[in-house]
Amino acid sequence: MGPLVPDIIGNELNFIVAIFIGISFGFILEQAGFSSSKVLVGLFYGYDFTVLRVFFTAGVTAMLGVILLGHFGLLDLSLIYINPTFLWSALVGGLIMGLGFVIGGFCPGTSITAAAIGKIDAMIFIAGSFIGVFIFAEGYPVFENFYNAESWGNVRIFETLGMSQAMFAFLLTLAAVGAFWMTTLIENRVNGKPNPEFKPGRLYIGLTGLAFLIGLSAFILPDIRESYMKEVENKNYINNYKLKTMDSDELALSLMDDDNTLQIVDIRPADEFKSLSLPHSQSLTLRDLFIKDVKNLLSIKHKKYVFIGNDEFSSKQGAVLADMLGFNNIFYLKGGLELFRREILNYRKPSGLNTRQEIDVNRFREQANKIIPVIIEKNKNSTAPLKKTKRVLGGC
């Protein structure tokens, strides 16, 4: 599951990756004509909308890609860098950059691209941007409060607007396609002649249709996590799902043996876990099963993963979800912790013991009833909460 850094690609190798990504970035910017300030500012005077076309196509492509990768569980969206929102600083910074854009004719990325092919004005622009950063750095004590004001955290636009991600993505895709059509018309009028490259031929009608369909697909496909959650809420589905079980006695035996292949996944609420937690256990919520860190926890070979909840149903819910997500060696505790309490922790010898088996079970349970509370007590403070990886730090 992505992001591949830092588990699959180490932090050092990431710098090499950065160079290759940069090569692709710079090559495309130059090929698109972003090395010319004349092309860039054309956007603001209506004679050349290249920037809008490239920028919006790129943004929409990447946005839909991120949504689809997240949808199919290939990218953990809780780990990727979401530019934090500081309302005033974001707006004022943007306005200053807009002013810089029409005066200087470049932005930082495009100035580097243009300087690389010998544009002297771009080199001067870069020198200017050094001075700009320097001014900010020296004036930081003055700017600091403003810079950190109205901090909204890593919010995403659809949350701010109170709509679904798919809805916003769909609307943005539509807006982009609409802007492409409109700006082509404006461009033709300003230049007094149509640009032969963008005659609304079949290709562009086809592309519009395709963009529309892809935008729509993000809308129809429900979030894969939500559809999993819906299924595990379904009683019939859970009851008919075939999974391996572990009963109270087996679990007790494993605990008494201090069996290292045992990994208990406790899906009770955190406060209940705090008041009683078994050794070898990790407290998780159902939704935690989707995150990347849990994937690492549940993918160790030769481990037996036993899900426990208060009753059999909730124990099985967790196990079913883990099984659906493709994890192996998943068990659930038969009867849940309720039965484990009755049969082991609060075990009382029944009045009549008739068969040989009943006598053996009784002997085992009486023993377990003495030992396990001691083990639990000893283990009390050693269960650590799951270490969740923090978001990647990015930004400029």
Partner: protein, 171 residues
């Protein structure tokens, strides 16, 4: 030889989008540019005025975050790649040439002043915006960050707002 034509903008945008998507998938972060300038400024200051950088909060925070190696920053490496990639693109499309682009109606001194002031404003604004057109606007749009999209709207809205006053520079 004549410079070759630019790539179809929609195709270029699609490839740029895929590059950005690959960046997010591999590294968990987006593209950027102004961050490399910031790193370079901190590096210069670290050498030129070590006592000052040790005290001033902006430099100090940056140096602490980068274990005193301000150049060891992902964006610095990415920008090295950008220079290389743009150079190769210029080479194969016959666009490598030292020129000072400007409208025939203005003097080259005017263009130089404009580039310098524009760069200064962009560098300053990118600090407030926590990223520039690449790091805040484009990458922010890909992950639908509220701040990134606000900055994007402010950049383009601002540019349209001010465009009229600077039209003589371009048309």
């Amino acid at each position: 030889m004549e410079p070759k034509k630019y790539m179809n903008p929609y195709l270029a945008g699609f490839f740029l989008g895929l590059t950005l998507l690959a960046t997010i998938y591999i590294t968990g972060r987006g593209l950027g540019a102004s961050g490399a300038v910031k790193s370079a400024v901190v590096t210069v200051m670290q050498v030129a005025a070590p006592n000052h950088t040790a005290q001033a909060k902006f430099y100090n925070d940056y140096l602490t975050e980068h274990q005193n190696l301000p150049l060891k920053n992902w964006l610095v490496f990415e920008v090295l790649g950008v220079i290389l990639g743009a150079f190769v693109s210029g080479l194969i499309s016959n666009r490598l040439k030292f020129t000072l682009d400007h409208s025939p109606k203005i003097k080259s001194q005017t263009r130089i002043a404009g580039a310098l002031i524009g760069g200064l404003l962009f560098g300053l604004g990118a600090q407030f915006g926590r990223g520039c057109t690449s790091g805040a606007a484009l990458s922010g749009m890909a992950v639908l960050s509220t701040g990134g999209l606000l900055t994007m709207m402010a950049i383009f809205g601002g540019a349209y707002m001010f465009a009229y006053f600077f039209r003589k520079l371009w048309i």
